[in-house]
């Protein structure tokens, strides 16, 4: 029997071992890395030409809206034809921006505003400031303040806002009436009281939860909470302000207080695991399992469609008690557009970008099709906007000069992830010394940024 075994087992040499192990690891090493040509172009935008436009929209209504947008542009600029490629992921867009070529995009649109810092600092997208200047367009007076901020990095405006998202408070009006609440909360103190009133415990769980405060509660992320405290994420030297700006500590403490008062982290997390997902019809706000929800403007359409009987109220998120005068502000983000540095048709591309992002009618029509917030101040006030009256809340939040965003960073949204991780540890009780936690997280953010430079 042992003899048989020796025959069965193959002879293995050192070389075979190395070759086998090395071959097996091949798949782990295929990180494609290519260079990028730094070609500039001085094309004539008045000549007949075709540009490539890559975007990320994919739903039928979205694709139809893009098609309509393009038709409007081609009518206004008959010499410039647009070849549209939709449903493009960030990875594909990034790869195409690196490689360039005839089939690569001249104009890109991305949902990931966090990549603006990298797009600008790397020169992957061209600085649009000279184009704006050439056409006498002032971005400061064209776009809402927060949208102006997230589309540039260190003075380099390599992207333009192309519709936006505004975050506010959704509330169940029926449950408000039952609880004797007459108006949506305007300060966090009022919010805490309302959330407790709306919470109906049932054994170890809830019949109804007033508000799901956990950072994993879909859109209740740190940056969405903190916008109500108007934080400054970085100082003038580009260092993290996390441990210095009291807005962050106040934001963390507010959320932690909500967690503790509404049942504690463990109970809330167990309840959360029983709830439907963010994009499905069984979202807890749709089903009435949660009475208030921090969310973006898209929730209105989704909630109405999922549960037409739900009496939905919409309001801005509350503000800290000492900032009551700023009630009406909120967190702003959105889709961005930019011109590829590899494009040899940048002037034609600019005509297209200018049209889709600054032409009031084009922006309004696109907003009507996509159901996002328009991204110019003029479009926000346009009478041609078609919307549910409750949607007006989000238009106002977008136009509010006190609304804030999370600024672009050279390494994408890494700093937001670091802050979010501190949030998880703080809400769960893993971190009890918030000051030390903030200092440690700030140090990590600075280290990560130094690594990216």
């Amino acid at each position: 029997m042992p003899e048989k075994s020796r025959k069965v087992a193959p002879e293995v040499t050192r070389k075979t071992v190395v070759a086998l192990a090395a071959s097996a690891s091949l798949a782990l090493l295929a990180t494609a890395c290519t260079g990028q040509s730094s070609s500039g172009a001085s094309d004539d935008a008045s000549k007949d030409t075709t540009i490539n436009f890559w975007h990320a929209w994919s739903a039928p209504n979205e694709v139809a809206a893009v098609k309509s947008l393009i038709a409007g542009f081609e009518k206004a600029h008959p010499n410039i034809h647009v070849n549209v490629v939709g449903n493009m992921t960030d990875d594909k867009i990034n790869q195409a921006l690196r490689t360039g070529g005839d089939k690569a995009p001249d104009v890109i649109s991305s949902f990931t505003t966090n990549n603006v810092g990298k797009f600008c600092s790397s020169g992957a997208l061209v600085d649009l400031n000279p184009f704006f200047k050439k056409d006498g367009i002032d971005p400061q007076t064209t776009f809402p303040k927060a949208m102006n901020e997230y589309t540039q990095f260190n003075g380099d405006r390599c992207t333009v806002p192309l519709l936006g998202d505004a975050y506010g408070l959704y509330y169940n009006k029926t449950e408000f009436k039952k609880a004797g609440i007459t108006s949506p909360p305007k300060t966090w103190s009022e919010f805490e009281a309302d959330a407790k009133k709306l919470t109906i415990p049932q054994g170890d769980t809830y019949k109804q939860l007033g508000f799901m405060p956990d950072y994993h509660g879909w859109e209740t992320t740190t940056e969405h909470y903190f916008a109500q405290f108007s934080p400054t994420y970085f100082d003038k030297a580009g260092k993290s302000n996390l441990a210095k700006d009291p807005a962050f500590a106040a934001g963390f403490q507010l959320q932690k207080k909500l967690v503790d008062e509404l049942g504690g982290f463990k109970k809330l997390e167990t309840y959360r695991s029983t709830l439907g997902d963010e994009w499905g019809k069984k979202h807890p706000f749709h089903t009435g399992q949660v009475a208030m929800q921090l969310d973006g403007e898209w929730r209105l359409g989704m909630a109405t469609e999922a549960n037409p009987k739900l009496d939905i109220g919409v309001a801005p998120l509350p503000v800290p008690d000492d900032q009551a005068s700023q009630y009406g502000k909120g967190y702003i983000t959105g889709t961005i557009a930019g011109i590829a540095a590899t494009s040899k048709k940048q002037n034609a591309a600019w005509e297209f970008v200018k049209y889709i992002t600054t032409d009031t009618d084009a922006v309004v029509n696109f907003s009507n099709g996509i159901h996002n917030v328009p991204s110019t101040l003029a479009a926000l006030k346009s009478p041609k906007l078609k919307y549910d009256p409750r949607f007006k809340t989000f238009l106002d939040i977008a136009a509010n000069p006190n609304s804030t965003t999370s600024p672009a960073s050279i390494n994408g949204g890494s700093y937001l992830v670091t802050i979010q991780n501190l949030g998880y540890d703080y809400e769960s009780g893993k971190v009890t010394n918030l000051k030390a936690g903030l200092e440690s997280a700030a140090k990590q953010i600075d280290t990560d940024i130094a690594q990216a430079k």
Binding site: M1, P2, K4, S5, R6, V8, A9, P10, T16, V17, V18, A21, A24, S25, L26, A27, L28, L29, A30, T31, C33, G35, Q36, A56, T89, L97, R98, F111, T112, T113, N114, K118, S122, G123, T205, H216, G217, W218, T221, T270, Y271, S273, T274, L275, D277, E278, W279, T333, N411, G412, G413, S414, V417, Q420, N421, K430, Q444, D448, Q451, A452
Partner: protein
Amino acid sequence: MSTLTLASKRRPSALAAKQRKQALRTLAFMSPWLIGFAVFFAYPLISTVYFSFMHYDGFKAPTWSGTKNWTYVFEHYPYFWPALRNTLWLVVVMVTLRVVFGLGVGLLITKIKTGTGVFRTLFYLPYLAPPVAATMAFAFLLNPGTGPVNSILEKVGIPAPGWFNDPTWSKPALTLLALWGIGDLMVIFMAALLDVPQEQYEAAELDGASAWQRFRYVTLPNISPIVMFAVVTGVIQTMQYYTQPLIAGKVASGVIQGAGTQFEPGYPEKSTLTLPQLVYNLGFQRFDYGSACVVALVLFVLSMVFTAFLMRRRGGLNLAGD
């Protein structure tokens, strides 16, 4: 004599030419593999080593950064060590259990007399399920609040774990998922078990060997190369474990990863984070290709070490007792 001398002088050059021709022919036959090896292995490997010492964001030309990326990954990147620990845990626990379970199922199915086809199909089917769908199904089954598994456990009075929502239970839950999809190993082990010569079992029975002794001294020695194959491929697959922990973490956290959303590492509390996820995060979300290459090289070295160790321990796996 002179003729002989001439012949002896000519012979080496003719032989050399023949050998050269032979060598060229061999090289020509080997060229597809050589080209493939150079393009798909040697070049990526050298590039990965090169970029691990460069600052490269994927857009601007790479610049020399010395050991900065290495220092960053090992000393400052907060996800590296948790990801490494998780990966090693999965390699040791999950691979071992998969091999043991696969062998066990294979043994059972080769022993049963009726319904073999049905059982083979039943055990093999889960392997065909796409990883994303299978993981989502498991996240539903193991949902701590609404999942049927916990409902049953609670009914019989067993404390219900948090599974994918609990850092202590998330990796065991992933292991359960891996055991559910054991079909690949079952088929391989079945083929090996059916190939064991029956006369060896008969001889062992005549010698009075017990069932355990027959398994230990007949079955295992015969199938030890297959066990080795299962372990080595299992280690390699686990080193590349990406989809299932990512999906499980995303589904359990309630945060869907997509355009415009943040990479949330290894929910809950980094417990499902694996090294391949870091390669993606560093390279494609942070645009830090240098550090991504460092993590890729760590994976490469780990795969080499594990595989070399297992191959050298072949005698240990060759449980013949020789």
